[in-house]
């Protein structure tokens, strides 16, 4: 009972934060999230076989979750909103609170009951619950007037990249600090072939494969010099590549190449320089027509589809011969080589496959914002991705997804929303000196930095540790030698 309540504080905290920061009808979403997280986390800590007790369990965790969520809703809509000048709407608050409680109870109970099923059916049941939520989300968003969709799509793009980075860092144990370079390469490859830039206006559906292939080839090219390196030197070399690629992209806008005195081509604009490439073709489907920037729903389902296919492939790879070879490589390269694993090929494949997913993400992102600029792929993107992977737990896909969601939502939704609220509170309180602090962009780096340091110092295995003992990062920090 004690663990049940303690564990259900995790989801409750999420519900509280979302309700407090977002305001309006977002409280309903907060209840949904609280119920989902608690329904996942609590049965994991306290498994029950009996349906009736599972319902009780679901109700308990839903109670904790909804109490805190309602607290958040009330605090935001009744206390903060009047201060910052939003009129108090009691009926709206009541609707949000009731909706939050209903959804929270429904989801927690269903999840708790599903978790009592035997493993095979449990997996299908969970997939159905999560699937229903994911598929209905766009309409929920529209119905509740949340306008989160334009942030959810980039979140999914970055999650896809985090999954790709997890292959390189988590599975194969190669610390890659320049992973954003492959995102840039994929995005530019797709942009070059599917925009008027070179007059090649290929369809998005072809360009995305071009992007994946080019990114994979660059993964091989940039990975091959790093083969004899390990550990920190490998990290620095990948960081170097990660910085060279954006510099090159920025400056390759008038390329002239001559073979001795015979000019091969003169003043070719390869990448558009600082102006970037713009516009990029959008995908087109028979019934929907061309995806429009004003309607995010087709984009949402497109990236969701790419994500699901990627997750399927990655989980199959994980358990394949190659996946086991990566694990062996990560644990001990010499021993892996002695066991007959071709360490060269296995490493290169990790780089190439990891880069492929980044290339896919880049192609999608370029088409989505219909433009691409060299400045969007710097070191902070690589570190943010690393943050997502490390927060969730290296080498564990569900951990990486959880960590990615936390970091991404904190970066894109919570911090900006909190910033506006705090801004308004400061203005209301009449304090002039703090007025121009932007609480979103001025604290982003601190968020990433502190996440990395605290995770390393306190919980190097991540929020959801992977099952195998990952030796890339030590399992327990307490085993220190003599320091």
């Amino acid at each position: 009972m004690q663990t049940r309540i303690r564990k259900s504080m995790i989801g409750a905290a999420f519900g509280f934060a979302i309700a407090l920061i977002s305001g309006g009808f977002a409280g309903i979403l907060a209840g949904l999230v609280a119920g989902l997280i608690n329904g996942y986390v609590v049965p994991e800590a306290e498994p029950l076989a009996d349906k009736r007790r599972a319902i009780v369990q679901g109700l308990t965790v839903a109670l904790v979750g909804s109490v805190l969520t309602i607290l958040g809703i009330v605090l935001r809509n009744v206390v903060i909103d009047p201060i910052i000048g939003v009129p108090l709407n009691l009926i709206g608050v009541a609707i949000a609170a009731v909706g939050a409680v209903l959804l929270c109870v429904l989801v927690s109970v269903v999840m708790c009951v599903v978790r009592t099923e035997p493993p095979a059916r449990e997996r299908i049941g969970m997939a159905i619950v999560v699937g229903i939520i994911l598929v209905t989300y766009p309409w929920l968003d529209q119905f509740l007037n949340l306008r989160f969709m334009n942030e959810v799509i980039p979140v999914l793009v970055f999650l896809l990249m985090a999954l790709g980075l997890n292959i390189v860092v988590g599975y194969a144990g190669l610390l890659d600090l320049g992973y954003a370079a492959f995102f840039a390469i994929g995005a530019y490859a797709a942009a070059m072939v599917s925009s008027p830039h070179f007059g090649l206006s290929l369809s998005f559906w072809l360009a995305i494969w071009v992007a994946a292939a080019v990114a994979a080839i660059f993964g091989l090219i940039l990975g091959s010099p790093t083969l004899p390196l390990r550990g920190d030197y490998l990290a620095i070399v990948t960081l170097g590549f990660g910085e060279i690629v954006p510099i090159a992209i920025k400056n390759l806008d008038n390329v002239s190449l001559s073979l001795w005195n015979y000019p091969l081509f003169v003043d070719v604009d390869l990448t558009g320089g600082t102006k970037g490439i713009n516009p990029i073709n959008r995908p087109w489907l028979p019934i929907i027509g061309e995806f429009s920037p004003s309607n995010p729903i087709p984009w949402y389902f497109l990236i969701l589809g790419i994500m699901l296919i990627s997750i399927f492939f990655i989980s199959r790879l994980r358990n394949s011969r190659l996946g086991r070879a990566w694990t062996a490589l990560r644990e001990d390269e010499l021993a892996a080589g002695a066991m007959g694993i071709n360490t060269v090929n296995v490493k290169l494949l990790a780089f190439a496959i990891g880069a492929t997913f980044s290339g896919l993400a880049g192609a999608f992102y370029g088409a989505y914002i219909s433009a691409i600029f060299p400045e969007s792929f710097r070191f902070d993107v690589s570190v943010m991705l690393l943050c997502m992977v490390i927060l969730g737990g290296l080498g564990n896909m569900s951990g990486v997804i959880l960590g990615g969601i936390i970091i991404q939502f904190a970066d894109r939704l919570f911090l900006p929303q909190m910033s506006t609220v705090v801004q308004k509170l400061i203005v209301a309180s009449g304090n002039e000196s703090l007025r121009d602090i932007n609480f979103a962009s001025d604290f982003r780096l601190l968020l990433f930095g502190l996440t990395l340091v605290l995770m390393m110092v306190l919980r190097p295995q991540g929020l959801v540790p992977s099952n195998g003992s990952a030796r890339v990062l030590p399992v327990a920090a307490g085993e220190a030698r003599h320091d």
Binding site: N251, F448, V453, D483
Partner: protein, 363 residues
């Protein structure tokens, strides 16, 4: 060196094919531009000397930062990623003090000189303390657990925390700071021109100002002091012993943790001095200047042979000169790429650097 075991032929020899392709590419496409560059250098020797002098000044401050990397790496094998950002914080701290003492170009030299020395010493003390505290909180407990990755990731995190501190520093507008931070927190901060801007080589067509002399002079004094400290004193001996073999040093009665702290203190002090010198020399400081400076200095440390003190000084000088030449003869836009390229090439083909011994990569 566990990594250099001979590779048994495994199918297609991709590595040798790759090497041959790289050589062919270089011969075909890079020879002519290189010849052109050398021609340009010979054609205008005055310009060349000017760039070399700029390189000397840049090299001096790069060497100061590079020493911090080398001292720490030599002892705990940690790439202290946050070191470049420590240098940035040094610049911000010194700018704050300049504001507090309300130093302006009009302040008479009798007051300005001693106060500048006070600012330098205070900045060094500040960055040294900060570096030591960070080591204690963020790196110490990650040592000796078999993986160097954890400490490196922690250092990357600290680097971002420092950058954010630098950003927030711009919001400090206490009345006693006399408005040195300007009105926009994120924008580059400007230093008052406190160093005299006279050309010592006037009339020769080459420029080497008094401020260049100050930067080079202070750097050389600090580097010499560090060299003497490490090679001639008991504490320096303890540092060298710890770098060679931490366990054996501990058995000989050396307090290893204090010695490691000492390395962080010395490195931090040099980074702070460098931050102040560069801030006053260039006249500006911005919160994200640590990343590039840090990577250039790390390249310098690796080029000289990481863990080697003289190597870091030599590497700093070389990187300063190379970037000055690249600024002039290639393009400023490509200088960072050139430096990163050098870093990659050295790490891949000669990880021991110019002066390093074979223990550089103990992996």
């Amino acid at each position: 060196m566990a990594t250099s075991h001979p590779r048994v032929a495994q199918g297609v020899p991709w590595r040798s094919i790759g090497k041959i392709l790289i050589v062919i590419f270089c011969v075909l496409f890079l020879t002519l531009p290189l010849i052109e560059m050398v021609k340009a250098m010979i054609a205008d020797p005055q310009l060349l000397v000017r760039q070399l002098l700029i390189g000397l000044t840049n090299g001096a401050y790069i060497a100061l930062i590079a020493l911090g990397y080398t001292l720490v790496y030599g002892i705990v094998e940690l790439i202290n990623f946050a070191h470049g950002d420590l240098y940035m914080l040094g610049a911000f701290f010194s700018l704050t003090l300049v504001g507090v003492f309300s130093l302006t170009p009009e302040t008479p030299w009798l007051i300005r000189g001693p106060l500048l020395v006070v600012v330098l010493l205070a900045t060094m003390a500040f960055t040294a303390t900060l570096n030591m505290l960070v080591d204690r909180w963020a790196y110490r407990r990650l040592r000796g657990i078999g993986s160097r990755m954890a400490a490196l990731i922690s250092a990357i995190g600290i680097s971002f925390v420092f950058q954010n501190l630098g950003l927030l520093w711009g919001y400090l507008r206490f009345p006693f700071m006399n408005g040195v931070m300007g009105s926009n927190a994120v924008a580059p901060k400007s230093f008052p021109a406190l160093f005299p801007n006279v050309n010592l080589l006037a009339g020769t067509g080459v420029r080497f100002g008094a401020k260049d002399l100050i930067v080079v002079g202070v750097s050389v004094v600090l580097l010499a002091a560090l060299y003497v400290f490490v090679t001639r004193t008991r504490l320096g001996k303890a540092m060298r012993a710890t770098a060679q073999d931490r366990d054996a040093a501990a058995l000989m009665g050396i307090d290893v943790n204090r010695t490691i702290s000492l390395a962080f203190i010395l490195g931090g002090a040099l980074a702070g001095a460098s931050g102040m010198l560069v801030g006053l020399y260039n006249g500006t400081a911005v919160f994200d200047m640590g990343f590039t400076a840090g990577l250039r200095s790390f390249t310098a440390a690796v080029l000289g042979g990481i863990g080697n003190i003289v190597g870091a000084m030599l590497g700093g000088l070389l990187i300063g000169i190379i970037s000055a030449l690249s600024d002039q003869y290639i393009s400023t836009k490509w200088t960072n790429a050139v430096v990163f390229g050098i870093l990659v090439i050295i790490l891949v083909y000669r990880p021991t650097g110019l002066l390093g011994d074979d223990t550089a990569q103990k992996a």
